[in-house]
Protein backbone atom coordinates (compact mmCIF):
# COMPACT_ATOMS: atom_id res chain seq x y z
CA UNK A 1 0.00 0.00 0.00
CA UNK A 2 1.22 3.49 -0.70
CA UNK A 3 1.45 6.40 1.70
CA UNK A 4 -1.57 8.72 1.97
CA UNK A 5 -1.60 12.34 3.14
CA UNK A 6 -4.30 14.75 4.23
CA UNK A 7 -4.04 17.94 2.19
CA UNK A 8 -7.14 19.84 3.26
CA UNK A 9 -9.54 20.15 6.19
CA UNK A 10 -12.85 22.01 6.51
CA UNK A 11 -15.32 22.38 9.35
CA UNK A 12 -18.56 24.24 9.94
CA UNK A 13 -19.23 25.78 13.31
CA UNK A 14 -20.67 23.05 15.56
CA UNK A 15 -23.89 23.91 17.36
CA UNK A 16 -27.58 24.48 16.72
CA UNK A 17 -28.00 25.68 13.16
CA UNK A 18 -31.67 26.60 12.93
CA UNK A 19 -31.03 28.34 9.61
CA UNK A 20 -29.02 25.58 7.92
CA UNK A 21 -29.95 22.11 6.73
CA UNK A 22 -27.80 19.05 6.13
CA UNK A 23 -27.06 20.14 2.57
CA UNK A 24 -25.82 23.61 3.48
CA UNK A 25 -23.61 22.24 6.26
CA UNK A 26 -21.93 19.56 4.21
CA UNK A 27 -21.35 21.86 1.22
CA UNK A 28 -19.79 24.47 3.53
CA UNK A 29 -17.39 21.95 5.11
CA UNK A 30 -16.40 20.38 1.80
CA UNK A 31 -15.84 23.74 0.10
CA UNK A 32 -13.58 24.86 2.95
CA UNK A 33 -11.58 21.62 2.68
CA UNK A 34 -11.04 22.06 -1.06
CA UNK A 35 -9.88 25.66 -0.57
CA UNK A 36 -7.61 24.60 2.31
CA UNK A 37 -6.07 21.90 0.09
CA UNK A 38 -5.24 24.48 -2.51
CA UNK A 39 -6.78 22.41 -5.30
CA UNK A 40 -9.49 23.25 -7.81
CA UNK A 41 -11.77 20.33 -6.98
CA UNK A 42 -11.67 18.56 -10.29
CA UNK A 43 -8.73 16.49 -8.99
CA UNK A 44 -11.16 14.63 -6.68
CA UNK A 45 -12.01 11.16 -8.03
CA UNK A 46 -14.33 9.77 -5.35
CA UNK A 47 -16.32 10.77 -2.27
CA UNK A 48 -16.87 8.94 1.02
CA UNK A 49 -19.58 10.31 3.30
CA UNK A 50 -19.92 9.44 6.99
CA UNK A 51 -23.48 9.79 8.24
CA UNK A 52 -25.18 7.80 10.96
CA UNK A 53 -28.91 8.39 11.13
CA UNK A 54 -30.02 10.69 8.34
CA UNK A 55 -33.04 8.47 7.69
CA UNK A 56 -34.33 8.98 11.24
CA UNK A 57 -33.18 12.57 11.60
CA UNK A 58 -33.97 14.19 8.24
CA UNK A 59 -35.79 11.43 6.34
CA UNK A 60 -33.02 11.24 3.77
CA UNK A 61 -31.07 8.14 2.74
CA UNK A 62 -28.84 7.68 -0.32
CA UNK A 63 -26.41 10.22 1.10
CA UNK A 64 -23.62 9.23 -1.29
CA UNK A 65 -25.61 10.41 -4.28
CA UNK A 66 -26.77 13.52 -2.41
CA UNK A 67 -23.17 14.52 -1.66
CA UNK A 68 -21.93 14.14 -5.24
CA UNK A 69 -24.93 16.09 -6.49
CA UNK A 70 -24.81 18.93 -3.96
CA UNK A 71 -21.04 19.30 -4.28
CA UNK A 72 -21.30 19.49 -8.06
CA UNK A 73 -19.15 16.41 -8.41
CA UNK A 74 -21.33 14.16 -10.57
CA UNK A 75 -20.59 11.65 -12.06
CA UNK A 76 -17.76 10.51 -9.72
CA UNK A 77 -18.35 7.59 -7.35
CA UNK A 78 -19.82 8.61 -4.01
CA UNK A 79 -20.43 6.20 -1.14
CA UNK A 80 -22.08 6.54 2.25
CA UNK A 81 -20.30 4.93 5.19
CA UNK A 82 -22.15 4.09 8.39
CA UNK A 83 -20.69 2.82 11.67
CA UNK A 84 -22.88 4.65 14.21
CA UNK A 85 -20.83 7.31 16.02
CA UNK A 86 -17.70 6.03 14.23
CA UNK A 87 -19.19 6.77 10.79
CA UNK A 88 -16.83 9.71 10.23
CA UNK A 89 -13.68 7.87 11.23
CA UNK A 90 -14.62 4.84 9.17
CA UNK A 91 -15.31 7.15 6.21
CA UNK A 92 -11.77 8.55 6.57
CA UNK A 93 -10.47 4.98 6.65
CA UNK A 94 -12.49 4.09 3.54
CA UNK A 95 -10.96 7.04 1.69
CA UNK A 96 -7.52 6.11 3.02
CA UNK A 97 -7.83 2.53 1.76
CA UNK A 98 -9.06 3.70 -1.64
CA UNK A 99 -6.00 5.94 -2.11
CA UNK A 100 -3.52 3.56 -0.45
CA UNK A 101 -4.65 0.78 -2.78
CA UNK A 102 -3.99 2.90 -5.83
CA UNK A 103 -7.62 2.95 -6.94
CA UNK A 104 -7.69 6.76 -6.68
CA UNK A 105 -5.12 9.51 -6.20
CA UNK A 106 -7.37 12.11 -4.58
CA UNK A 107 -10.61 11.58 -2.63
CA UNK A 108 -12.88 13.76 -0.53
CA UNK A 109 -14.20 12.49 2.81
CA UNK A 110 -17.12 14.34 4.33
CA UNK A 111 -19.45 13.73 7.21
CA UNK A 112 -22.17 15.45 9.10
CA UNK A 113 -25.41 15.21 10.98
CA UNK A 114 -28.39 17.51 11.24
CA UNK A 115 -29.81 16.63 14.65
CA UNK A 116 -31.96 19.55 15.76
CA UNK A 117 -34.78 19.17 13.24
CA UNK A 118 -36.42 16.50 15.42
CA UNK A 119 -37.24 16.25 19.14
CA UNK A 120 -34.68 15.15 21.74
CA UNK A 121 -36.66 11.91 22.21
CA UNK A 122 -36.43 11.17 18.50
CA UNK A 123 -32.68 11.84 18.61
CA UNK A 124 -32.36 9.44 21.56
CA UNK A 125 -34.28 6.76 19.67
CA UNK A 126 -32.21 7.30 16.51
CA UNK A 127 -28.94 7.06 18.48
CA UNK A 128 -30.27 3.94 20.17
CA UNK A 129 -29.84 2.24 16.81
CA UNK A 130 -26.10 2.21 17.56
CA UNK A 131 -26.70 -0.37 20.27
CA UNK A 132 -28.45 -3.74 20.30
CA UNK A 133 -31.99 -2.68 19.50
CA UNK A 134 -33.75 -6.01 20.02
CA UNK A 135 -32.10 -6.99 23.31
CA UNK A 136 -30.88 -3.89 25.12
CA UNK A 137 -32.67 -0.80 23.83
CA UNK A 138 -35.92 -2.82 23.80
CA UNK A 139 -35.54 -3.35 27.54
CA UNK A 140 -35.32 0.37 28.27
CA UNK A 141 -31.60 1.02 27.80
CA UNK A 142 -30.42 4.36 26.47
CA UNK A 143 -26.93 5.32 25.37
CA UNK A 144 -26.18 7.14 28.61
CA UNK A 145 -27.45 4.05 30.47
CA UNK A 146 -25.04 1.73 28.66
CA UNK A 147 -22.10 3.98 29.50
CA UNK A 148 -23.43 4.35 33.05
CA UNK A 149 -23.25 0.57 33.46
CA UNK A 150 -19.64 0.71 32.28
CA UNK A 151 -18.87 3.64 34.57
CA UNK A 152 -20.26 1.80 37.60
CA UNK A 153 -18.00 -1.19 36.86
CA UNK A 154 -14.98 1.10 36.42
CA UNK A 155 -15.76 2.75 39.74
CA UNK A 156 -16.08 -0.63 41.47
CA UNK A 157 -13.00 -2.21 39.93
CA UNK A 158 -10.62 0.77 40.13
CA UNK A 159 -12.10 3.23 42.61
CA UNK A 160 -12.80 5.85 39.94
CA UNK A 161 -14.95 8.65 41.38
CA UNK A 162 -17.73 10.85 39.99
CA UNK A 163 -15.44 13.85 40.61
CA UNK A 164 -12.75 12.29 38.42
CA UNK A 165 -15.32 11.80 35.64
CA UNK A 166 -16.37 15.43 36.09
CA UNK A 167 -12.72 16.46 35.62
CA UNK A 168 -12.92 15.14 32.04
CA UNK A 169 -15.82 17.48 31.24
CA UNK A 170 -14.11 20.42 32.97
CA UNK A 171 -10.89 19.90 30.98
CA UNK A 172 -12.73 19.52 27.67
CA UNK A 173 -14.79 22.65 28.28
CA UNK A 174 -11.58 24.49 29.08
CA UNK A 175 -10.20 23.43 25.67
CA UNK A 176 -13.52 24.16 23.95
CA UNK A 177 -13.30 27.72 25.24
CA UNK A 178 -10.22 28.12 22.99
CA UNK A 179 -11.92 26.68 19.88
CA UNK A 180 -13.99 29.21 17.91
CA UNK A 181 -15.90 26.39 16.15
CA UNK A 182 -16.90 24.59 19.36
CA UNK A 183 -20.54 24.35 20.42
CA UNK A 184 -19.69 25.35 23.99
CA UNK A 185 -16.94 27.92 24.44
CA UNK A 186 -17.28 28.39 28.16
CA UNK A 187 -15.51 26.90 31.14
CA UNK A 188 -17.34 24.84 33.73
CA UNK A 189 -16.36 23.61 37.20
CA UNK A 190 -16.43 20.19 38.85
CA UNK A 191 -19.22 21.59 40.99
CA UNK A 192 -21.27 22.46 37.89
CA UNK A 193 -20.97 18.87 36.70
CA UNK A 194 -21.74 17.39 40.12
CA UNK A 195 -24.82 19.59 40.44
CA UNK A 196 -26.20 18.80 36.98
CA UNK A 197 -28.99 16.25 37.28
CA UNK A 198 -28.62 12.52 36.71
CA UNK A 199 -29.37 11.28 33.20
CA UNK A 200 -28.44 7.69 34.05
CA UNK A 201 -26.64 7.42 37.40
CA UNK A 202 -23.72 7.87 37.94
CA UNK A 203 -23.68 9.96 34.71
CA UNK A 204 -25.08 13.47 34.91
CA UNK A 205 -26.12 15.92 32.24
CA UNK A 206 -22.65 17.49 32.05
CA UNK A 207 -21.02 14.06 31.69
CA UNK A 208 -22.81 13.73 28.33
CA UNK A 209 -21.97 15.14 24.91
CA UNK A 210 -24.71 17.36 23.46
CA UNK A 211 -27.01 17.20 20.43
CA UNK A 212 -25.27 19.07 17.62
CA UNK A 213 -25.57 20.11 13.98
CA UNK A 214 -22.38 20.26 11.99
CA UNK A 215 -20.23 18.90 9.21
CA UNK A 216 -16.56 18.20 8.55
CA UNK A 217 -14.48 17.24 5.53
CA UNK A 218 -10.93 16.26 4.65
CA UNK A 219 -9.19 15.79 1.29
CA UNK A 220 -6.80 12.86 0.93
CA UNK A 221 -4.04 12.55 -1.67
CA UNK A 222 -1.45 9.88 -2.47
CA UNK A 223 1.80 11.16 -0.90
CA UNK A 224 3.77 10.33 -4.05
CA UNK A 225 1.42 12.58 -6.06
CA UNK A 226 1.55 15.60 -3.74
CA UNK A 227 3.96 17.66 -5.88
CA UNK A 228 1.96 17.00 -9.00
CA UNK A 229 -1.62 17.26 -7.72
CA UNK A 230 -1.53 19.38 -4.58
CA UNK A 231 1.63 21.50 -4.56
CA UNK A 232 -0.02 24.25 -2.50
CA UNK A 233 -1.41 22.15 0.38
CA UNK A 234 0.11 21.83 3.85
CA UNK A 235 0.07 18.03 3.90
CA UNK A 236 0.13 15.74 6.95
CA UNK A 237 0.82 12.02 6.51
CA UNK A 238 -1.53 9.27 7.69
CA UNK A 239 0.96 6.99 9.45
CA UNK A 240 -1.66 4.37 10.32
CA UNK A 241 -5.33 3.57 9.94
CA UNK A 242 -6.81 0.73 11.99
CA UNK A 243 -10.26 -0.56 12.84
CA UNK A 244 -11.67 -3.26 15.12
CA UNK A 245 -15.06 -4.68 16.08
CA UNK A 246 -16.69 -6.09 19.22
CA UNK A 247 -20.13 -7.38 20.17
CA UNK A 248 -23.03 -5.02 19.54
CA UNK A 249 -24.60 -5.92 22.88
CA UNK A 250 -22.83 -4.70 26.01
CA UNK A 251 -23.99 -7.91 27.73
CA UNK A 252 -21.78 -10.02 25.45
CA UNK A 253 -18.52 -8.23 26.35
CA UNK A 254 -15.99 -10.00 28.51
CA UNK A 255 -15.19 -6.78 30.41
CA UNK A 256 -17.39 -3.73 30.77
CA UNK A 257 -14.69 -1.51 32.25
CA UNK A 258 -12.57 -1.37 29.11
CA UNK A 259 -13.13 -0.90 25.38
CA UNK A 260 -11.51 -4.00 23.88
CA UNK A 261 -11.93 -2.84 20.27
CA UNK A 262 -9.85 0.25 21.05
CA UNK A 263 -7.03 -1.86 22.47
CA UNK A 264 -6.98 -4.05 19.35
CA UNK A 265 -7.11 -1.12 16.92
CA UNK A 266 -4.50 0.81 18.93
CA UNK A 267 -2.00 -2.06 18.90
CA UNK A 268 -2.51 -2.44 15.18
CA UNK A 269 -2.09 1.30 14.56
CA UNK A 270 1.01 1.64 16.77
CA UNK A 271 2.65 -1.31 15.01
CA UNK A 272 1.92 0.08 11.55
CA UNK A 273 3.11 3.59 12.42
CA UNK A 274 6.16 2.32 14.29
CA UNK A 275 5.35 4.43 17.35
CA UNK A 276 4.08 3.81 20.87
CA UNK A 277 1.72 5.65 23.24
CA UNK A 278 4.63 7.71 24.60
CA UNK A 279 5.30 9.14 21.13
CA UNK A 280 1.81 10.66 20.80
CA UNK A 281 1.89 14.42 21.39
CA UNK A 282 -1.81 15.14 20.93
CA UNK A 283 -4.90 12.91 20.83
CA UNK A 284 -8.55 13.35 20.01
CA UNK A 285 -10.51 10.61 21.77
CA UNK A 286 -14.18 9.67 21.72
CA UNK A 287 -15.63 11.30 24.86
CA UNK A 288 -19.33 10.82 24.10
CA UNK A 289 -19.51 10.45 27.89
CA UNK A 290 -16.79 11.34 30.41
CA UNK A 291 -16.25 7.67 31.30
CA UNK A 292 -15.57 6.99 27.61
CA UNK A 293 -12.53 9.31 27.67
CA UNK A 294 -11.23 7.63 30.82
CA UNK A 295 -11.50 4.20 29.19
CA UNK A 296 -10.01 5.55 25.94
CA UNK A 297 -6.84 6.99 27.46
CA UNK A 298 -6.32 3.67 29.27
CA UNK A 299 -6.98 1.48 26.21
CA UNK A 300 -4.69 3.66 24.09
CA UNK A 301 -1.90 3.03 26.59
CA UNK A 302 -1.46 6.64 27.68
CA UNK A 303 -2.08 5.59 31.29
CA UNK A 304 -2.20 2.19 33.02
CA UNK A 305 -5.59 0.49 33.23
CA UNK A 306 -7.73 1.92 36.02
CA UNK A 307 -5.75 5.16 36.40
CA UNK A 308 -7.38 7.28 33.67
CA UNK A 309 -9.70 9.04 36.11
CA UNK A 310 -6.91 9.95 38.51
CA UNK A 311 -4.61 11.06 35.67
CA UNK A 312 -7.34 13.39 34.41
CA UNK A 313 -8.02 14.77 37.86
CA UNK A 314 -4.26 15.37 38.27
CA UNK A 315 -4.26 17.45 35.08
CA UNK A 316 -2.13 15.06 33.04
CA UNK A 317 -4.38 15.32 29.96
CA UNK A 318 -4.63 19.10 29.92
CA UNK A 319 -3.26 21.19 27.09
CA UNK A 320 0.55 20.90 27.03
CA UNK A 321 0.75 18.55 30.01
CA UNK A 322 1.78 14.86 29.91
CA UNK A 323 -0.41 14.29 26.83
CA UNK A 324 -2.84 16.85 25.39
CA UNK A 325 -6.20 15.09 25.01
CA UNK A 326 -9.17 16.55 23.14
CA UNK A 327 -7.72 19.96 22.39
CA UNK A 328 -10.78 20.68 20.20
CA UNK A 329 -12.97 20.41 23.29
CA UNK A 330 -13.83 16.82 22.43
CA UNK A 331 -17.36 15.64 21.76
CA UNK A 332 -18.29 17.10 25.13
CA UNK A 333 -17.60 20.79 24.42
CA UNK A 334 -17.00 20.98 20.66
CA UNK A 335 -20.21 19.02 20.10
CA UNK A 336 -21.08 15.66 18.55
CA UNK A 337 -22.77 15.89 15.13
CA UNK A 338 -22.43 12.13 14.78
CA UNK A 339 -21.20 11.64 11.20
CA UNK A 340 -18.89 14.66 11.45
CA UNK A 341 -17.19 13.71 14.71
CA UNK A 342 -14.55 11.27 13.45
CA UNK A 343 -13.59 13.66 10.65
CA UNK A 344 -13.42 16.63 13.01
CA UNK A 345 -11.06 14.66 15.24
CA UNK A 346 -8.72 14.04 12.31
CA UNK A 347 -9.00 17.70 11.24
CA UNK A 348 -8.01 18.84 14.73
CA UNK A 349 -4.91 16.62 14.64
CA UNK A 350 -4.01 18.03 11.19
CA UNK A 351 -4.26 21.61 12.53
CA UNK A 352 -2.12 20.67 15.54
CA UNK A 353 0.59 19.04 13.40
CA UNK A 354 0.60 22.01 11.04
CA UNK A 355 1.08 24.27 14.04
CA UNK A 356 -2.14 26.12 13.15
CA UNK A 357 -4.27 25.43 16.22
CA UNK A 358 -3.92 28.98 17.57
CA UNK A 359 -4.65 29.34 21.29
CA UNK A 360 -4.97 25.60 21.80
CA UNK A 361 -1.73 24.72 20.00
CA UNK A 362 0.27 21.86 21.48
CA UNK A 363 3.97 22.77 21.57
CA UNK A 364 6.01 21.10 18.82
CA UNK A 365 3.36 18.49 17.99
CA UNK A 366 4.91 15.82 15.73
CA UNK A 367 2.61 12.79 16.06
CA UNK A 368 -1.12 12.79 16.78
CA UNK A 369 -3.85 10.18 17.19
CA UNK A 370 -7.62 10.19 16.64
CA UNK A 371 -9.84 7.51 18.24
CA UNK A 372 -13.46 7.30 17.10
CA UNK A 373 -15.90 4.84 18.70
CA UNK A 374 -19.21 3.47 17.42
CA UNK A 375 -21.90 2.58 19.95
CA UNK A 376 -20.54 1.46 23.31
CA UNK A 377 -17.38 0.12 21.67
CA UNK A 378 -18.65 -2.24 18.97
CA UNK A 379 -16.51 -0.30 16.47
CA UNK A 380 -13.25 1.57 17.04
CA UNK A 381 -11.33 3.31 14.28
CA UNK A 382 -7.95 4.91 14.96
CA UNK A 383 -5.77 7.14 12.81
CA UNK A 384 -2.21 8.15 13.62
CA UNK A 385 -0.98 11.24 11.78
CA UNK A 386 2.59 12.44 11.43
CA UNK A 387 4.07 15.80 10.51
CA UNK A 388 5.95 15.57 7.23
CA UNK A 389 9.67 16.25 7.50
Amino acid sequence: MRSVSIIGVGLTKFGEHWDKGFRELIVEAASKAVVDAGIEGKEIQAIYGGVMASGRLIGQEHIGALLADQLGMNPIASTRVEAACASGGVAVRSGFLAVASGAYDVVAVGGGEKMTDVSAEDVATALGGAGDQEWELFNGATFPALYALMARRHMLEYGTTEEQLAAVAVKNHSNGALNPLAQYQREITVEDVMNSGYIASPLKLLDCSPITDGAAAVILCATEKLKQLAPNGDAVEIAASAQASDSLALASRKSMSEVASTKVAANDAYRTAGVGPKDIDVAEVHDCFTIAEVMAIEALGFFPKGTGGKATEDGETELNSTISVNTSGGLKAAGHPIGATGIKQVSEIVLQLRGKADKRQVNDAQVGLAQNVGGSGATTVIHILRRRK
Binding site: E121, T125, G128, G140, L149, R152, L156, A200, S201, M256
Partner: protein, 132 residues
Protein backbone atom coordinates in the same frame (compact mmCIF):
# COMPACT_ATOMS: atom_id res chain seq x y z
CA UNK B 1 -39.40 1.53 20.62
CA UNK B 2 -41.88 0.93 17.87
CA UNK B 3 -41.36 -2.78 17.34
CA UNK B 4 -43.65 -4.31 14.76
CA UNK B 5 -45.92 -7.23 15.59
CA UNK B 6 -43.98 -9.93 13.65
CA UNK B 7 -40.76 -9.04 15.50
CA UNK B 8 -42.45 -9.13 18.90
CA UNK B 9 -44.10 -12.45 18.03
CA UNK B 10 -40.85 -13.95 16.68
CA UNK B 11 -38.98 -13.20 19.90
CA UNK B 12 -41.60 -14.68 22.28
CA UNK B 13 -39.67 -17.90 23.14
CA UNK B 14 -36.66 -15.85 24.20
CA UNK B 15 -38.46 -12.99 25.88
CA UNK B 16 -41.12 -15.06 27.69
CA UNK B 17 -39.09 -18.12 28.67
CA UNK B 18 -35.50 -16.91 28.37
CA UNK B 19 -34.85 -19.61 25.84
CA UNK B 20 -31.30 -19.14 24.62
CA UNK B 21 -28.91 -21.50 22.92
CA UNK B 22 -25.84 -23.57 23.65
CA UNK B 23 -23.01 -24.83 21.50
CA UNK B 24 -22.56 -28.59 21.97
CA UNK B 25 -19.03 -28.39 20.56
CA UNK B 26 -17.57 -25.96 23.12
CA UNK B 27 -20.33 -25.89 25.74
CA UNK B 28 -20.80 -22.10 25.66
CA UNK B 29 -24.33 -20.88 26.51
CA UNK B 30 -25.74 -17.87 24.62
CA UNK B 31 -28.56 -15.46 25.25
CA UNK B 32 -30.17 -14.19 23.10
CA UNK B 33 -30.09 -17.13 20.72
CA UNK B 34 -27.35 -17.41 18.15
CA UNK B 35 -27.47 -19.40 14.96
CA UNK B 36 -23.67 -19.63 14.78
CA UNK B 37 -21.19 -20.14 17.62
CA UNK B 38 -18.65 -17.27 17.34
CA UNK B 39 -15.98 -19.49 18.94
CA UNK B 40 -16.44 -22.58 16.79
CA UNK B 41 -18.17 -21.13 13.72
CA UNK B 42 -18.64 -23.99 11.23
CA UNK B 43 -17.60 -26.69 13.74
CA UNK B 44 -20.16 -25.55 16.31
CA UNK B 45 -23.48 -27.24 16.93
CA UNK B 46 -26.16 -24.94 18.29
CA UNK B 47 -29.12 -26.28 20.25
CA UNK B 48 -31.86 -24.54 22.27
CA UNK B 49 -31.08 -24.05 25.95
CA UNK B 50 -33.22 -22.53 28.66
CA UNK B 51 -31.37 -19.92 30.69
CA UNK B 52 -31.37 -19.98 34.51
CA UNK B 53 -33.77 -17.42 35.95
CA UNK B 54 -31.54 -16.46 38.87
CA UNK B 55 -28.41 -14.38 39.01
CA UNK B 56 -26.72 -11.37 40.55
CA UNK B 57 -26.46 -7.69 39.61
CA UNK B 58 -23.18 -7.09 37.74
CA UNK B 59 -23.80 -3.37 37.22
CA UNK B 60 -26.78 -1.03 37.42
CA UNK B 61 -28.02 2.47 36.71
CA UNK B 62 -31.08 4.55 37.46
CA UNK B 63 -32.42 5.98 34.20
CA UNK B 64 -33.89 9.48 34.43
CA UNK B 65 -34.08 10.40 30.74
CA UNK B 66 -36.14 7.71 29.02
CA UNK B 67 -36.45 6.80 25.37
CA UNK B 68 -39.83 6.67 23.63
CA UNK B 69 -42.17 4.10 25.14
CA UNK B 70 -40.63 4.37 28.63
CA UNK B 71 -41.49 7.99 29.49
CA UNK B 72 -44.12 6.96 32.03
CA UNK B 73 -41.70 4.81 33.98
CA UNK B 74 -38.90 7.23 34.83
CA UNK B 75 -36.92 6.99 36.90
CA UNK B 76 -36.36 3.25 36.54
CA UNK B 77 -33.55 0.87 37.37
CA UNK B 78 -31.68 -0.98 34.68
CA UNK B 79 -29.15 -3.69 35.47
CA UNK B 80 -26.65 -5.91 33.79
CA UNK B 81 -27.62 -9.19 35.39
CA UNK B 82 -25.16 -12.07 35.47
CA UNK B 83 -27.18 -15.29 35.37
CA UNK B 84 -25.99 -18.30 37.39
CA UNK B 85 -24.47 -19.83 34.22
CA UNK B 86 -22.36 -16.71 33.60
CA UNK B 87 -24.48 -15.30 30.76
CA UNK B 88 -25.25 -11.59 31.13
CA UNK B 89 -28.55 -9.93 30.22
CA UNK B 90 -29.53 -6.29 30.33
CA UNK B 91 -32.89 -5.84 32.01
CA UNK B 92 -35.01 -3.63 34.18
CA UNK B 93 -35.05 -4.21 37.93
CA UNK B 94 -38.54 -3.82 39.41
CA UNK B 95 -40.42 -4.29 42.69
CA UNK B 96 -37.21 -3.82 44.66
CA UNK B 97 -36.29 -1.20 47.28
CA UNK B 98 -33.69 1.21 45.86
CA UNK B 99 -31.21 0.55 48.68
CA UNK B 100 -31.19 -3.18 47.85
CA UNK B 101 -30.22 -2.57 44.22
CA UNK B 102 -26.44 -2.85 44.22
CA UNK B 103 -23.64 -4.79 42.56
CA UNK B 104 -23.69 -8.39 43.79
CA UNK B 105 -27.34 -8.39 44.92
CA UNK B 106 -29.13 -11.69 44.12
CA UNK B 107 -32.05 -11.36 41.68
CA UNK B 108 -34.61 -13.58 40.02
CA UNK B 109 -36.60 -13.20 36.83
CA UNK B 110 -40.18 -11.95 36.74
CA UNK B 111 -42.50 -11.62 33.76
CA UNK B 112 -43.71 -8.08 33.00
CA UNK B 113 -44.94 -5.63 30.41
CA UNK B 114 -41.88 -3.99 28.79
CA UNK B 115 -43.33 -1.15 26.73
CA UNK B 116 -46.37 -0.03 24.83
CA UNK B 117 -46.57 1.77 21.58
CA UNK B 118 -49.15 4.50 22.20
CA UNK B 119 -52.87 4.01 22.66
CA UNK B 120 -53.52 1.62 19.82
CA UNK B 121 -50.06 0.16 19.70
CA UNK B 122 -48.74 -3.25 20.54
CA UNK B 123 -47.85 -4.08 24.11
CA UNK B 124 -44.57 -5.95 24.40
CA UNK B 125 -43.94 -8.36 27.29
CA UNK B 126 -40.76 -9.93 28.53
CA UNK B 127 -38.42 -10.54 31.46
CA UNK B 128 -37.45 -8.17 34.22
CA UNK B 129 -35.60 -8.92 37.45
CA UNK B 130 -36.37 -8.45 41.12
CA UNK B 131 -34.00 -8.40 44.09
CA UNK B 132 -34.55 -11.53 46.19
Amino acid sequence: MNEALPLIWRRIPERYNMLGSKCLNCGTPYFPQRKMCPKCRRKGKIVAEKMPTEGTIYSFTEVHAAPKGFEQETPYFLAMVELSNGVRVLSQVVDSPADKIKIGAPVNMVFRKISEDGEEGVIAYGYKFKVK
